[in-house]
């Protein structure tokens, strides 16, 4: 019971901190706080440390593959040079 109350309080505090950080324009801090909230839920509510060891393996595996998806999936977008086509395209039809 006390554990749940503690976790709930921590989450509420983190949420408040998130709002403050967002107002201050600290994007990175917001991200860190969001990850902390996730950790509180995983450790406090889902009690992953008391789950069978297999569950921890599965959770870490999911996290690992998520990292692959995000890292390699964004690699192209972040290293690409794009030449956008504007309205003044050279093949603008001759009339109108």
């Amino acid at each position: 019971m006390a554990r749940i109350a503690t976790c709930w309080t921590m989450l509420v505090l983190l949420l408040a901190a998130e709002l403050v950080a967002a107002r201050a324009g600290l994007g990175a801090v917001v991200c860190v706080l969001a990850v902390l909230m996730v950790l509180v839920i995983v450790l406090g509510f889902m009690q992953i440390l008391r789950a069978p060891p297999l569950a921890i393996i599965f959770a870490l595996g999911g996290l690992f593959w998520l990292a692959i998806l995000l890292a390699l999936g964004s690699l192209d977008s972040f290293t690409r040079t794009t030449v956008p086509v504007h309205d003044t395209a050279p093949y603008a039809p001759a009339v109108r």
Binding site: A5, L11, E18, V38, F45, L54, S74
Partner: protein
Amino acid sequence: MPDSPVLDHHSPYETPLHRDESAIAGMWLFLASEALLFGGLFLVCLIYSHTRSAGWAEGVRHTNLVIGGVNTMILITSGAVYTMAVEAGKRGDNRRVVRAGLGAAALGVAFLVLKGVEWALEFREHLFPGPDFALHGPDAGAAELFYSFYFLATFLHGMHMVVGIGLILWICRKARHGIFGPAWNTPVDIVGLYWSFVDLVWMLLFPLLYLLGRA
């Protein structure tokens, strides 16, 4: 998922503990799978919020922070309340499982109602991407991308909420018959994992949809 405290003779397990551990591990594996489902959305967000940051932030600034914040509080509380049901299940206190479960489900419904109100407001403000999209200017395209993401992400999360509420009600019905006890409460546990996961996803979506880029 096991549906009774005893093993029937076709069960592949040796002991009930063996069965319950497998069920919990299986649920975690399913949640890993779910994480990658939302992972696709996070990738979309990660890319556009950097490559099209100006318009994306403009979209973020038009979301309803009050409703979003209240909803986050509701979900935090709902998660905490359902975790009480899990604790009660471990003690075999079926009445508390029902009460906490119904409380968590009610909070979940409140979340969905508020979300619906928020959507209605956004539709009225023409924030749904399309020909009569409300925002104009050079970055309007990226703002529309943001709203495509916003509506799909909240829809998908909402669907998970609906499934979660359904599962909680199913647990409550079972608990009313008093079938959970210290020896067997795996379904309560498993639904708790799912409900916390839905919670967890929102804790990530909330900053992405409402906070990052607002200032």
